[in-house]
């Protein structure tokens, strides 16, 4: 088992690399569990309906042209853009998966405080199936 440091990750949204604007990231997939437990069941019993997924990133903001703020604000009103997350960085292969899908912007926050860098918190919501690609 290969353990990897978070700093190796790559994140691309709408063809823009965003890993340099994040020091926290989470990709979450949540399955919709439907409770079908009956009187004769020992313990719970569930069926999986469908799933949703989202990605959240936060870190220092960058207001330069083509950087974080411009990229994320450009997603306002967009019906969906390409998303790719590589936990290990580099090209996809059997030991380096790439998660691919389409996302829409759910929310975008800018935070500032005396003595601190201006930061962002961005939440993207999945708008397609999430695929795990291990094909070189």
């Amino acid at each position: 088992m290969a353990l990897i440091a978070s700093r190796n990750m790559d994140l691309t949204v709408n063809s823009v690399a965003l890993e340099c604007y994040a020091n926290n990231f989470e990709q979450a997939l949540e399955q919709n569990m439907v409770d079908v437990t009956t009187f004769c069941d020992a313990g719970p019993r569930s069926l999986v309906d469908s799933y949703t997924w989202n990605a959240q990133l936060s870190g220092p903001n960058d207001f330069a042209s083509g950087a974080l703020d411009a990229t994320i604000f450009g997603l306002v009103g967009n019906a969906g853009v390409a998303y790719a997350f590589q936990p290990t960085g580099g090209t996809a292969d059997t030991n380096s998966p790439e998660y691919d899908g389409t996302v829409v912007l759910q929310s975008y926050s800018i935070r500032a405080a005396v003595g601190q860098a201006i930061t962002h918190q961005t939440r993207l919501m999945g708008n397609s199936a999430l695929t795990r690609d291990v094909t070189p």
């Binding site: 220092p60 829409v104 405080a113 201006i118």
Partner: protein
């Protein structure tokens, strides 16, 4: 501009008032979109439809109870009126990024605690569109002037371009401003007034918002075309309404 620190160049402007000198922390959620679940039986994974958006802004504001300071100003925002909120994050020089929002005061609880300054947690809720644009003018005006043009891109016939002009302080009788356009920064196509984007300003601590809906040329600039008085601290922003 790369990754920015917050001080000392961030500016928080509410109507014609510079709130910056009282703010020690702030959070703006410029955009929160309506996401509607459009999944059907045949969907694999999620399917969402994007609707409208909302925005909200909150600031930790030091409570200053002297005349014309933060407490008096924030209290004056109560009521049903719209206000123009300008947020210049990390930089305020001409050409810097500028967020402009139409807001109403949502709440402003005043908090006190042992060993701490009194804080007014000022929260604004969006009540109109938001614009992400640039600072077109940030100057102490003493006469007529043409500021540097900025390439903000053209607008289509259905888009609205706005400018917000604030006079923060000064001693003057009045001045006339224009928001002008050019296809090539005046190289061959002289700057000319964008229809309707002009006004006469005669009041300190005031704000004017002018808009134009329709096609505009890529380069925009702020100009003071007539002047009477000594000086005025003016901040002008311009951008496309989202």
């Amino acid at each position: 501009m790369g990754i920015v620190a917050t001080t000392p160049n961030t500016r928080i402007l509410v109507d014609g008032y510079d709130l910056t000198g009282f703010v020690n922390a702030g959070e703006a959620t410029p955009i929160e979109q309506e996401i509607m679940d459009g999944r059907v039986f045949s969907s694999v994974g999620p399917r969402n439809v994007v609707g409208n958006y909302s925005h909200r802004h909150s600031y930790s504001t030091l409570g200053d109870f002297d005349a014309f300071q933060s407490d008096e100003f924030i209290n004056s925002l109560t009521g049903d009126d719209n206000h123009y909120l300008g947020e210049l994050w990390g930089a305020n020089a001409e050409g810097s990024l500028a967020y402009e929002s139409i807001v109403k005061l949502a709440r402003a609880p005043l908090r006190a605690a042992n060993g701490q300054l009194m804080i007014i947690n000022t929260e604004f809720g969006g009540n109109g569109p938001l614009s992400r644009g640039h600072v077109l003018g940030n100057l102490t005006a003493t006469g007529t002037t043409n500021r540097t043009g900025r390439n903000q891109g053209t607008t289509s016939s259905t888009q609205t371009y706005q400018a917000v002009i604030r006079v923060l302080s000064g001693t003057f009788t009045d001045f006339t401003f224009q928001i002008q356009q050019s296809s090539d920064d005046g190289a061959g196509d002289a700057y000319s007034l964008i229809t309707g984007m002009t006004a006469v300003v005669s009041t300190v601590s005031s704000v004017v918002r002018v808009t134009f809906t329709g096609a505009t040329e890529a380069w925009k600039r702020f100009a003071i075309t007539a002047w009477s008085g000594t000086n005025a601290v003016v901040v002008a922003t311009g951008g496309v309404v989202t």
